[in-house]
């Protein structure tokens, strides 16, 4: 993990001779949290890896224009959020299926995956999360699993804090209902 501040990292990135070094540090600093978010969104490891690569490629292209109005972390999260939502949209378009069928596919992938180590209740929780609409799932993941502040989530999603609170409360109620139901 880099001990450098965002400003120092960006200064290094803007110098041609240290550009690659700075970018490598940025990837190493943020990859785990961003991966965790993307993986919760798309479930499958290979798909999460592809999406995350696209996130950093977009970051590479956009870093010169990054004005530090927001934290680098929030800015990267915004890219990850957009890429994940777009990936799920493409998935639906490509399969010509409805949301339930996509959830079924993702659930089947999760059941088969050697990279899912959760127990029965965690599997049930993840299934419930997958049934949420995409944007609500993103908000729930950022708040519940990643414990981000509403202001950070607002920066990442471009949604007001009030709307985010309402969305999170609705998501929590839905998941509680699914968790306590007899459905697996």
């Amino acid at each position: 993990m880099s001990e450098l501040s965002d400003t120092e990292l960006l200064a290094l990135f803007r110098r041609e001779e240290s550009r690659n070094y700075a970018f490598n540090l940025i990837v190493r600093t943020h990859q785990r949290r961003l991966y965790a978010f993307v993986r919760r969104m798309v479930t499958d490891h290979d798909e999460a890896q592809d999406v995350l690569q696209e996130v950093f490629i977009k970051a590479w292209k956009g870093l010169d224009g990054f004005r530090e109005d927001a934290q680098l972390y929030s800015w990267l999260h915004r890219i990850a959020y957009n890429q994940s939502i777009n990936h799920l949209k493409r998935l639906r378009r490509g399969l010509f299926v409805n949301n339930d069928q996509v959830v079924e596919r993702l659930t089947a992938d999760m059941d088969r995956s050697e990279h899912f180590t959760g127990d029965a209740i965690e599997k049930k929780l993840q299934r419930a999360v997958m049934r949420l609409p995409d944007k609500q799932r993103a908000v729930f993941t950022m708040k519940y699993f990643q414990e981000m502040k509403y202001t950070e989530i607002s920066d990442a999603t471009g949604t007001s804090v009030g709307a985010l609170k309402a969305s999170y409360h609705i998501a929590v109620k839905k998941i509680e209902a699914w968790l306590t139901s007899d459905q697996t």
Binding site: N20, V27, R28, H45, E114, H115, F116, T117, H169, V172
Partner: protein
Amino acid sequence: MEDHHEQEELERLAPALMGLPKRDPFAVPDGFFDRFPHAVQARVTSRPAPVVRWLRRAAIALPVLALLALGAWWLTRPEPGTADLAVEVHAPASEEDLYLLAGDDLYAELALSEDLEAPAPDLELSAEELALYYELNGTDVGALIDEL
């Protein structure tokens, strides 16, 4: 303080969810996070420079544009021979043109015609009218019948 109140409300609202231990069940292959930065670096540095990318796009776009232009020309081109007819229809011939094309005799006849746009005379003549016409012109009707 606000967060504390919200947490209390969520625990009341969703005791099962809020009581779950938070653990990340999603594993990654061994060494994934060591290799990943290199994979990303390889992808961004292997991307061609913008000028090269534009040249590649142009290399694809130009033949496509040329084909489209050819197709547009093919669809809108005049049928063979139509162009000449169009010229004949749309370009009124001058008297000089007619003279050159038709020769002296036709030009002379046209020049003698006083009013080309006047309605043609009614040529349906009765037998009496024809006889009167030939008589006035001094035509020998008997010789004309023999000749026919």
